[in-house]
Symmetry: D2
Subunit: 342 residues, 4 copies
């Protein structure tokens, strides 16, 4: 039984608490939050869980094996480092840290102590993304040509981070997981329509040395909610619509080939292939539960998480690069190192 403390009971914390409480293999031991009213809510629902306004009580508790940190991003580094130094395994909400340098320091601190450092990039644990990864890995898709995501809705405006950190971060983690490749360069445009607030919409383009291109369109100011990703490969293409109640992932047996047919004068000598469409049954477990199970597995089996600090760090690098480009109206920003991901 892994004993877990949760720090932060705001927007996302209750989901962590519920999942760890119901997991069966973990024991929710304590919850910390600065707001006593939030702790009252915990007390009502989970009378056996100890609550505190001082997160150090959790870190100093030798009974606790791991902490999950669901506080604003500007506290992630400090809390994460304190937890690692206290010998706790750490679950960090996304994005991992404000800077990639901080991310690197957390990785080192975890490595030194052989502690698990897991970043909650939840989408990686959805049935749809895991199926996409299987299809990429098995070469059913062929060579990946592009990834194109639209992730827009009305609200929720954040006060401390831009729409890139809030929404594009999901695509950055999915891309890292699918392509196993960090982009070589990024170009982004964005705007804050309301002075004094972070950018509320952004368009990010990523260039990969393998020849793939990725594009992410994120907004808090769209009249309709859209969560659609198109992925094109040389053999097949996907449409992943996360808002569909079923058949979220559709695989199209479509493609293009170049021919020598001299009859085509005005158009290129292109052949279009269209075949069946197929929507595989997906694992419908709650992604957060799958992630929580995986976190426990990593602790018990002393292994790295799928969404470990390294993935988390690469995502923060992308956020930094995209933000820098966005501030410069699209100027190309090269990633600090485009080393091949395993």
């Amino acid at each position: 039984m892994i004993r877990i403390g949760v720090i932060g009971y705001g927007y996302w914390g209750p989901n962590l608490v519920r999942n760890f409480a119901e997991l069966g293999r973990a024991e929710l031991t304590g919850v910390a939050d600065l707001d006593p009213k939030k702790l009252e809510l915990v007390n009502k629902r989970f009378p056996a869980v100890k609550t505190t306004t001082d997160f150090l009580e959790l870190l100093n508790d030798p009974e606790i094996d791991a902490v999950a940190i669901a506080t604003p991003v500007d506290t992630h580094f400090e809390l994460g480092m304190a937890a690692l130094k206290a010998g706790k395994h750490v679950w960090l909400e996304k994005p991992m840290t404000e800077t990639s340098v901080q991310a690197r320091q957390l990785i080192d601190a975890a490595d030194k102590r052989k502690l698990v450092l897991h970043v909650d990039h939840t989408f990686v644990y959805t049935g749809a993304v895991r199926k996409m990864r299987d299809l990429v890995k098995s070469d059913d898709l062929g060579k990946v040509l592009y990834y194109d995501s639209t992730r827009v809705n009305l609200g929720l405006f954040q006060r401390d981070v831009s729409v890139i950190s809030d929404l594009a971060v999901h695509d950055f983690s999915i891309l890292d997981y699918l392509l196993c490749e960090q982009p070589a360069a990024v170009s982004a445009g964005g705007i804050n329509h309301f002075p004094g607030t972070p950018e509320n919409l952004a368009y990010i383009t990523m260039f990969y040395d393998s020849g793939a291109i990725a594009h992410v369109n994120v907004s808090w100011l769209a009249p309709v909610k859209v969560r659609t990703v198109l992925v094109g490969g040389t053999k097949k293409m996907f449409v992943y619509d996360d808002l569909q109640p079923s058949e979220k992932l559709k695989i199209y047996d479509k493609g293009v080939s170049f021919t020598d047919d001299p009859a085509k004068i005005y158009q290129m000598r292109v052949g279009y292939r269209t075949g069946d469409m197929w929507a595989p049954k997906l694992d419908e477990q709650e992604a957060l539960k799958v992630g929580a199970e995986h976190f426990c597995d990593c602790i018990e089996q002393k292994k790295q998480s799928l969404t470990d600090g390294r993935l988390g760090q690469r995502v923060t690098e992308l956020i930094e690069a995209a933000t820098a480009s966005m501030k410069a109206r699209g100027a190309t920003v090269h990633l600090p190192h485009a080393e091949k991901v395993l």
Copy 2:
């Protein structure tokens, strides 16, 4: 009765021929194409129309008032200039010319001779775009905050021009018509997945001095066809889905306002307003027919076309700027002059 000759009977020419033939107020006098087989088709369907493989026969025919040019873009300048010099009013397919310099020369040539120079940016004549323009002009939308278009499908790959000239050109003309403002700067990313071919997908972001931002996502390599534009204003928002058989344009009474409610700690003090949605009945006439009528009106009433050479030139400038940025992986390109459009 305006007598019209059509040059080029390939992909789009037959639509021009059919529309001018059925217009009632114009007389289709002649058709020129280099390919005698195509002319046979014309002969079969329109026995009274004279056909020729030499476009000069049409230009030299004093019976002909105007010519419509539907040939590959690299011939537009030469044919258009010859037609203007022959004293003909000119209808040019989009994009107007290969370069904005050529466009300027055609404008001057037309102005000097007081001839109509119309560029076939057909979307401007659709019921949906005209309704959008009404709503922008009447301030129902409020200040325009963003325009976000997705225009993707599988094919048709072009051999001579990139997907920007083929598809983004539609948005460039719609934006010019809606916003009456040329962007100050452009950033674009794109790729040709097949060596030796033009770019087959591109993402273009445009920055306006008024504070608006526009984004266009175009591709010939998508598994599904999408033709969706989102437009956000301070008062209302639109979704324009050109693939819907009806209710193509939906107007959402939605918006965001910033409040002083101190209760919101983790989120900004934002109020979200959602009201009714409304899909106005649109004029369902074929846009090309509306454009052809307008061309005849302009000739008869000696007035400028809504999609005149100036609009056409601004579009070619945008294509040039977007293409330059795309070649430089997103580097900001400033437009040559961001003068206010009337």
Copy 3:
């Protein structure tokens, strides 16, 4: 503060318990269920609520003002009658009783004691149905011509009642509320594909003296979930799609008129009118909460519920008639009395 006991903590009971517990103006006093395991769940979630396996404890408790009964339908009459005789106001799950005769007896028992008898036809309390009712009442729709509902999905098969009692019952209550008229006759077809089970799909047609016609298509054996109602009036038409996340109700300014145009030879002289479409903002409160508020209002203000025993009885009459017709492969069944509903 109205003190409420809930009998039955199976599929629907927990929703009642949650809503009454959170209402603010009612106090959840006790919960009865035959299954002690279910009561344990209640104890965990609501430690202050007393639980019992004997519903009589609730009825004999003088502290309790009202009981909500969420047990299998074959127990509704017995439990409801006992509760009324114990002087409790009664909330009954739908359908009210197994027979319309039983329904009448409950109505009489409630009337005699001046107790509120409320049937939980939840759909009547949705924002969409209340908006539809407003539009019918204000004559915006014109005369109602038809109501056509499709309510199908895969599962949940019931063991004790047919798909008519399970799903068509929703439309029967909506129709009663919208039209204020009981149909004069019913014809239904249906089938049980699996021997020894109740009918799992059914098609019911209702004929009204006013000239309207209604049709309900229900199934537990459809590959996709559909919840769509079309309503046609002489002035406007509705589409109500309960599965849409927003814009559930769309109002079409469409209609038909008969003209004297002699030009139409093969077709009738019909004019089709199509105008704007409009999706009004709907009240998005949980319908069950609205119903629970209404139940409390009725008790406090000593008034009849919108979904009182009389509406409940008319629904049971419709179920009886439709079931009789279904057993006779569509034979017309006249309703016992087609008296005008107020």
Copy 4:
């Protein structure tokens, strides 16, 4: 080369003329219509085709092998019989005749003279219906449990036939082709909302001895166009949506099985199976062209059409039965003979 004359150039005739003219293997020889204006249209488009206001000219022309009859249904019997007696193969628009007795007489007349008698139930020749038939025949679907069609839109009101003859006739022919079984009994409800006109909406339920049930919902008075068929089998289920631009036919690996699990108290012991969804690529040829090819094949190879007079007659029997039931508000009507179709 089969020489064909077409009688009737109203709503559907031009489609026949175009298809036969472009077929390659047939020669469009003559067109008859009572209206000289319509014949002028033919002359313009097809100068080589002879036109006449007297259909007898076509029947008396020894050059003509076959005639296609696209006139109002009340003339089908007379014209069809005259054509057969003149030794012509006959293509009849749907429905075949006003009565099933007439249909029988045409069949006999054709059989006696060994002439092809083809009824234009076009849907049978669509890629979607042929694929459905393959899946039923190969037992991929399992035993057919139900067929449920919704075929509604606004207009076109017919003056001479009800919505059953106009729209439900499509489902009657599809059902005959898919199930190879005539229903044993029919129940229908319908209404004419406008006095003196045919019924403009109808709901028809068909009962089959095999245990299947079919239902058809047709209307000329719906605010939206719907063309959806659900088909459930013991192994798989279909959704056929004819309005989709692609993926018209979706096959769901879904089903229900009954188990002995005692844990399910309130629900039946039912297991729900859900697997992949699959949308096969369909033949996208125009169905009318496929039918026209088939008609030519039948003439050349002296074989029966897939949609021969017998299928046409069974459809007229269904129309008669459904209409009789509709006039009696759903009263069960037994089909004259429910003999097994081959």
